[in-house]
């Protein structure tokens, strides 16, 4: 098959998100990733729930199934079990994946079924016109919380660690350099790969990730993690993270002033470190990249290990089992 470009993964449908929505960049990153890793459109399936993010399957030239609110991981599980050869992607959002569908997300992750799950987190309900979501920060004003929300938000990455996810990454919608690579890694992972993508809702929660994503401030507000490399950030990589052994928390240090030898080296196989990185809050930087990855048997493999994939026995033998009474003379 001739090599495909990202344009080959664009369907003939007009994209209908709001102008300036972060979803456009994510769509492009997904198409780039698919082209880069040689995905086959016929063997690729995008499955989504409900919400702005969930429209994405219509725009990708592959099989696509736009399902119902929160249930995409369950439907994707059936697809993957029925045909493990397929490359199955789940597109969800913070409301779809962590509110109405959090149960299915939990079970897809703990089973470790080989799905690539992309959660577009914009910390708001977009398609229903701007109500606060399960990831909205306390005090978010919205049509359903005019005085500011009082719910504690859930942290998607920490949720995934708790579910026992074997691959957890975080990316940024407009990061066309970094995001396709993260998605490629997610696709390569055998098992459930969970990617939280910080996504700007230009209408209802504009610039909520501005400090992390804007070119001017990004260096001090995000830390790009890479397995085996020290956890450094800042414009000149002059800052680093180290473990405070007394509080068992990560803290920022100035490289040089505080000594570089204390800076932690990222170990993506360590779920405890992953949890600390995923829970970082300002003024500490937001972790971006592949934060956790370990190998474990994918569910569909364990599922089919014990049974044949195709029919080998005829039903007539089953019919004539049990407590037979033979009245044939």
């Amino acid at each position: 098959m001739a090599e495909l470009s990202f344009k080959d993964f664009a369907s003939d449908q007009e994209v209908r998100w709001c102008p300036g929505c972060g979803d456009y960049s994510i769509l492009k990153a997904v198409q780039r990733a698919l082209a880069t890793c040689g995905a086959e459109p016929a063997k690729t399936v995008f499955i989504s729930g409900i919400g702005c993010a969930a429209r994405l399957p219509y725009y990708i030239e592959s099989y696509g199934f736009h399902t119902i609110h929160g249930r995409a991981p369950a439907i994707a599980t059936g697809v993957k079990l029925a045909n493990p050869e397929l490359d199955v992607w789940v597109i969800t959002g913070d409301g779809d994946g962590l509110s109405i569908g959090a149960n299915h997300l939990l079970h897809a992750l703990r089973r470790n079924i080989d799905l690539n799950i992309l959660l577009f987190n914009n910390e708001i309900y977009g398609l229903t016109k701007g109500q606060y979501s399960p990831t909205s920060r306390i005090g978010t004003t919205s049509p359903s919380s005019p005085g500011g929300s009082v719910d504690n938000p859930v942290r998607p990455g920490a949720f995934a660690v708790g579910a026992g996810a074997t691959f957890i990454a975080r990316g940024i919608d407009i990061d066309q350099k970094g995001l396709p690579g993260i998605l490629t890694e997610a696709r390569a992972h055998r098992g459930a790969a969970f990617v939280e993508i910080l996504q700007n809702c230009i209408v209802y929660n504009k610039d909520v990730f501005e400090s992390i994503s804007s070119r001017k401030t990004a260096a001090d507000h995000q830390i790009r993690v890479q397995h085996g490399l020290p956890l450094l950030y800042g414009g000149n990589q002059e800052k680093g993270l180290r473990l405070n052994p007394r509080t068992l928390q990560l803290e920022a240090i100035q490289v040089g002033a505080d000594g570089v030898e204390d800076v932690l080296v990222h170990d993506e196989t360590n779920p405890t470190l992953a949890l600390m990185l995923l829970n970082l809050e300002p003024p500490l930087p937001t972790a971006i990249g592949v934060i956790h990855r370990r190998q474990a048997e994918p569910f569909e493999q364990a599922f089919w290990n014990a049974k044949p994939r195709a029919r080998r026995q005829r039903v007539v033998t089953l019919l004539h089992q049990g407590n037979l009474v033979d009245h044939r003379s």
Binding site: A42, V45, R71, G78, L86, N103, F303, R309, R311, R314
Partner: protein
């Protein structure tokens, strides 16, 4: 009473005890023995929802009823003529249902002051005269069991647990039924525990020997029963859950498609999951999902990916699946949804039976979302009805709801094993190599779109719950298109009727009263109509397998009757459906007690509504011949 148990061609026996006494096992083993003795049979397991309810309490009583005999048997019997009661509670709760003059066998030592108190009794019914209308046979079953097994050195608890098999041995002796199958079952079950194995075998033999040798002829004697007039084919006993499992497996084979069965545990539907697990060699894989919604979701995913997705639950679980069912309708994917109905609303009575989800199945979705609905009439009928459900799902690319109930799922009957080669292969809409169709082209027979699945490079497409353009499948908010799609979805289900056989009259003739029923009431209605015909009433039985759409000749058929009676185990759901679809008047017989209909209740309603025969009644011989022609267990 001095008179013994009446000699009859069939008997109704009820085993009752604590839910930890092994009553269900006792009943199942007796069922097998009865079948091997050549009897037709019908069973009713009747147990509490609690797994091991407190011993000796009335609410903790577990029972198993069987009617068996040398004639056609279609119900587990209205009134037991033999009751085996392991304790005072088991006696007390079952007493009101016994036939006059029934034989009661009790475990004598269980009637202690403490156990009487447990059963909320102030006097001992064995001694206060309250049983004087019955034959009572007091046997110290617990003590005799301990005697029989003491040489195997088991602990007190394990020894006592053998009493169900001791008592089974005695009842098997009473009806001269073989012990071999039960002995074989014990050998296999306790293959790795010699002491328990030998103790249970000894208990079974001792109970049997007790019948032979005890000086109880005045009260307990043998009642050999003639064999049923069975066709010369092979038979087996089968429960509804087993027949469903085999039906799904057979349908997969007939369609040459593998099945993915996805479900979440719920009473009384879980038995189907258990039976299907382990049929991997026969093309069925089972997935236990995290909840009801995930179960139907995964089944839909499987169908989307080209296998046949099947999910199963009971009413409350079906309620949870409803939104996803709408998705399967919108996406036009084949799917089978089995509902083993139970008594409700809400949790209701999970182990008790009811037919109250008919409206949920036919009407219970948001928007105009029609789905074909079928119902099985008996445990064995689940096999064929399941195959028909799969056939419809694949022909029309639609979800199908198959209704059974707690009674059918657990009850067993004798089943003439069908010849699988006599079933027509099941066609489907998968693209063939020669097809140049698009995904959204429809065939005239089923109005079904193409079943194109991921992996097929010729048919890459997107689909979902958003309304789609009737031609291209793309998202469409066009008003005329939505009207056209709504009409199409309705037509697709309506056209199912074109493929159905004409509704037939089960027994009796047109003109008088039509008794129209569906589902598991078949056996009781069959017996009631049969007896009413013998009594000279103008009555006929019409039993529906297809509830949506209804058979197209049903209206015309019913127009040939003076009156229509609809007996059902709900508050009138089929009656409402018939009024809705056929604009006819119907009389109702409704029972919502968690129990199957007694034949007598249906008979009384028939007598109330049926005119006397206008034409000469057929002789009893003629009715008998008609029955014999239909063979046994066919229904």
């Amino acid at each position: 009473m001095s008179q013994q148990l009446a000699e009859k061609n069939s008997h109704v026996v009820r085993f009752a005890g604590d839910s930890g006494d092994g009553i269900q096992l006792q009943g199942q083993q007796f069922t097998v023995a009865s079948a091997l003795a050549g009897h037709d049979l019908s069973t009713l397991p009747d147990f509490p929802a609690e797994i091991r309810a407190p011993a000796g309490t009335r609410y903790g009583v577990s029972a198993f009823q069987i009617q068996f005999g040398g004639e056609r048997i279609t119900t587990p019997g209205d009134a037991p003529d033999v009751l085996l009661a392991f304790n005072p509670a088991a006696l007390t709760v079952n007493l009101p249902h016994l036939a006059p003059g029934a034989l009661i066998i009790v475990d004598d030592s269980a009637f202690s002051a403490q156990r009487l108190r447990r059963a909320e009794l102030t006097a001992n019914p064995l001694e206060d005269g309250s049983l004087h209308d019955f034959h009572v046979c007091r046997v110290d079953i617990s003590h005799l069991t301990l005697e029989a097994v003491k040489r195997f050195g088991l602990g007190a608890k394990d020894s006592a647990r053998c009493k169900n098999l001791w008592a089974l041995g005695l009842v098997l002796w009473m009806f001269d039924q073989p012990r071999d199958a039960t002995a074989g079952w014990i050998q296999a079950k306790f293959a790795n525990n010699e002491a328990v194995r030998n103790a249970n075998l000894a208990a079974l033999a001792a109970g049997h020997a007790y019948g032979e040798t005890a000086e109880l002829q005045h009260i307990l004697s043998q009642h050999p029963i003639p064999e049923a007039p069975l066709d010369s084919v092979a038979y087996r006993t089968i429960t509804g859950a087993e027949a469903l499992a085999l039906g799904l497996t057979a349908a997969g084979e007939l369609a040459d498609i593998e099945l993915l069965f996805c479900s979440y545990p719920i009473t009384p539907a879980s038995a189907l999951l258990h039976h299907l697990t382990g049929l991997g060699e026969a093309g069925v894989a089972t997935f236990q999902a995290e909840d009801e919604i995930a179960a139907i979701g995964a089944a839909i995913g499987a169908s989307y990916a080209g296998k046949l997705g099947v999910t199963s639950s009971s009413g409350p679980g079906i309620a949870l699946k409803t939104e996803a069912l709408g998705l399967a309708v919108a996406a036009e994917l084949p799917l089978v949804v089995v509902n083993s109905q139970r008594a409700g609303p809400s949790t209701g009575m999970p182990t008790k039976t009811e037919q109250s989800d008919l409206h949920q199945a036919v009407y219970g979705r948001n928007a105009d979302t029609p789905v074909p609905v079928l119902a099985a009439r008996s445990p064995a009928d689940c096999f064929e009805t399941t195959i028909e459900a799969v056939r419809i799902a694949l022909r029309h690319m639609t979800p199908v709801i198959l209704l059974t109930d707690g009674y059918i799922a657990n009850a067993s009957e004798l089943w003439p094993i069908p010849d699988i080669d006599a079933f027509k292969p099941i066609a489907n809409r998968k693209p063939t190599d020669s097809m140049a169709e698009s995904v959204w082209e429809r065939d005239a027979d089923g109005l079904a779109r193409l079943w194109a699945a991921p992996g097929d490079a010729r048919h890459i497409h997107r689909v979902g719950g958003i309304e789609k353009d009737i031609e291209t499948g793309h998202i469409s908010y066009d008003p005329a298109n939505h009207q056209a799609m709504t009409d199409l979805r309705a037509a697709k289900v309506a056209i199912v009727a074109d493929h159905l056989p004409e509704q037939a009259i089960e027994q009796g003739v047109a003109g008088g009263l039509a008794v129209v029923a569906w589902g598991s009431t078949f056996g009781a209605v069959y017996q009631a109509v049969k007896e009413s015909l013998s009594d000279g009433l103008a009555v006929a039985q019409i039993h529906l397998r297809h509830l949506n759409p209804l058979p197209s000749n049903l209206g015309e058929l019913l127009a040939g009757f003076e009156a229509v009676l609809v007996p059902e185990l709900n508050n009138g759901q089929l009656a409402t459906l018939l009024r809705d679809r056929l604009l006819i008047e119907v009389a109702q017989l409704n029972q919502v007690s968690g129990q199957p209909f007694p034949v007598a209740a249906v008979k009384a309603a028939i007598a109330e509504h049926a005119p006397a025969r206008l034409v000469e009644a057929p002789t009893k011989e003629a009715v008998g011949k008609e029955i014999a022609d239909q063979g046994v267990g066919r229904g």
